[in-house]
């Protein structure tokens, strides 16, 4: 089993690295991969002259943005895969518990008040976590928190926050604030700086690690609750920890780059089509494929046209046909 997957284990990180280096050179100020490497690793290529503007473009503008794309892609895919397993529902997304809607309310509120980028991020993060806390309070019943109650509570809280987002849009100044909100909601990575990244990375990386540690147990978690209990695993504790991990990821990603739809649904399913349903493989595959997918999408978003295209539009336009082709070829699942 491992031997068959080893080309992937090496291949996916290599592809992610190569694509990242290529993406660093692409854009209005274009550079060859060799020039990019000369900037990244000073002194390795003595024949390349590194100018100050090359340094600025690569290190201060593109590198944080590409790191954000890698992390956002990996994170949203892992969060989607985790929720799909927890809710035994192939249609669950990172936003199932209302995290993303909650986070976007926090962000648009901060935009409405004209606050700085970092403050927008903090508002989004806080509101996203608040939304999930509300979901758990609403979904709690006497006997615990049955999954169906949690999912329904997620829908209700999500609807509530989305109404609040509409309210903010309604009162926003249509001249400048409303377009800013709308653009933010469509998702984009252009605001990435080292400052925002440093605030966001711990949540995303921490969340990914948390889900990754429980990857095999997620198989048992995807069974009906009593079956999972009878397999002798601490169902409640794992559910809470994995939910916290996926929530941290989603809230942090949304707080940095707005709503990016589709990735959390698309990538885990592509991973299952290639590697089978075993989460021991689905989770690492989602990390790798999600990162690659997002770098490609984001590079396309900034290079295809002179003006930037919102990422969410591209994830659907590029992702959907790709998904359909795979779905028709594999019939949706793959064995060993």
């Amino acid at each position: 089993m491992n031997r068959k997957n080893s080309p992937w284990i090496i291949g996916i990180p290599v592809v992610a690295l190569v694509f990242s280096v290529l993406a660093l050179g692409m854009g209005q100020f274009s550079m060859t991969p060799k020039e990019v490497l000369a900037v990244l690793l000073p002194g390795t290529f003595s024949d390349v002259e590194v100018t100050g503007s090359m340094n600025t473009v690569v290190l201060n503008i593109r590198l944080p943005r590409i790191l954000l794309a890698l992390l956002a892609g990996a994170g949203l895919s892992v969060a989607g895969a985790a929720f799909q397993a927890l809710f035994s529902n192939p249609l669950a997304t990172p936003d199932t518990l209302g995290v993303a809607t909650g986070a976007s309310f926090g962000a648009v509120l901060a935009i409405l008040f004209g606050l700085s980028a970092v403050t927008i991020q903090v508002f989004a993060l806080a509101a996203g976590l608040l939304a999930v806390a509300l979901v758990y309070i609403v979904g709690r019943t006497r006997g615990g928190s049955p999954m169906i109650m949690i999912v329904l509570a997620g829908m209700v809280i999500s609807a509530l926050f989305s109404a609040l987002v509409s309210l903010v849009k309604y009162v926003a100044d249509p001249q400048d604030v409303l377009p800013a909100i709308t653009f933010w909601m469509m998702g984009n990575m252009q605001n990435a700086t080292w400052e925002t990244l440093l605030l966001g990375i711990p949540f995303i990386v921490g969340g990914i690690i948390l889900v990754f540690l429980f990857r095999w147990k997620l198989n048992a978690m995807s069974l009906p609750e009593e079956e999972a209990v009878s397999l002798g695993i601490p169902v409640r504790r794992i559910r809470v920890l994995v939910t916290i991990g996926a929530t941290m990821i989603t809230a942090s990603v949304v707080s940095m780059c707005g709503l990016i739809s589709w990735v959390g649904l698309l990538i885990p399913h592509i991973s299952r089509m290639i590697f089978g349903s075993n989460n021991k493989r689905v989770i690492p595959a989602s990390i790798g494929l999600g990162a690659i997918f997002m770098v490609v999408i984001d590079t396309a978003a900034r290079c295809l046209t002179a003006a930037e295209i919102p990422v969410s539009i591209l994830t659907a336009v590029i992702g959907a046909p790709f998904f359909i082709i795979l779905l028709r070829q594999t019939g949706g699942i793959k064995g060993n």
């Binding site: 540690l213 147990k217 002798g232 695993i233």
Partner: protein, 262 residues
């Protein structure tokens, strides 16, 4: 192994109706205990209460004289294997991936199954006779084979007691026989004890030493199968006339239970 229920009673939070009342049983030998009762009499509720998946509102379950409420999940589920009613999960795993989940109770919180676990998985698949299906997807095999996968998953925890919820329901004639044969062999060869829920009094007579019959109103009777699966008791439990007849066949003797419509 000794499994005991003392004065078990159950009612749902809001329910006025007592679902189960004064359940008493002692099961301390290798072999099969069958639980019978009409639809809605509370068979599945009884199984769940016995295993602590639902909580007795009165009385309790005891494993080797220890109240199961005082046992940790790990302690209890490493001794008891549960085979639920076969239902295909939302995500389709391979047979081996499904069976290895049974090893979870013996693995650390973050541990993954290792070589030894996969060997146990193959041994359990061999025990139930489906080793050749090990790399198939669970939706590529028949319903009877999937039931055997779930039994193998329970066996992978190496329990002393198996609890099966209607293992032979929804299966055809032949597959019913295969599942029952596997159960009987397990109990005879590995000295396991098994508690099963069943809709078929014939099966109870055929394979079980002890039986428990759920009566209307939540009462139960427990004892040797021959004392429990009687015409009068079945008539009372199911509310229909019942005849029990022995049939001598060249292979062996069988006992048939028939509902007669006057």
């Amino acid at each position: 192994m000794k499994f005991e229920v003392k004065n078990g009673g159950f009612r749902y939070h809001h329910g006025r109706r007592q679902v189960l009342e004064n359940v008493n049983l002692v099961f301390d030998e290798p072999g099969i205990l069958s639980i019978l009762g009409a639809n809605g009499a509370g068979k599945t509720t009884l199984l769940k209460c016995m295993m602590g998946l639902l909580h007795w509102t009165e009385g309790g379950s005891f494993l080797d004289d220890k109240d199961i409420r005082t046992m940790s999940h790990r302690e209890f589920w490493s001794q008891v294997g549960y085979v639920p009613q076969a239902k295909m999960p939302s995500f389709i795993y391979t047979v081996r991936e499904m069976v290895v989940l049974g090893r979870g109770v013996h693995l650390g919180e973050l541990a993954q199954p290792g070589k030894k676990d996969w060997e146990i998985v193959d041994r359990c698949l061999d025990t139930v006779g489906i080793l050749h299906l090990r790399d198939k997807l669970c939706n590529e095999i028949s319903g009877g084979e999937y039931q055997l996968v779930l039994i193998a998953r329970a066996l992978a925890a190496e329990p002393k007691l198996l609890v099966l919820d209607e293992p032979e329901s929804n299966l055809d004639f032949r597959n019913q026989m295969i599942v029952l044969r596997v159960l009987r062999n397990l109990c005879e060869e590995q000295k396991l004890s098994a508690i099963i829920n069943t809709h078929y009094p014939d099966h109870a007579l055929d394979i079980s030493k002890k039986s428990l019959l759920l009566m209307p109103g939540g009462e139960t009777v427990f004892g040797d199968t021959a004392d429990i699966i009687r015409e009068d008791r079945l008539e009372q439990a199911f509310g229909i006339p019942v005849r029990i007849r022995k049939i001598e066949l060249p292979e062996r003797d069988y006992t048939c239970v028939m509902a007669v419509d006057r």
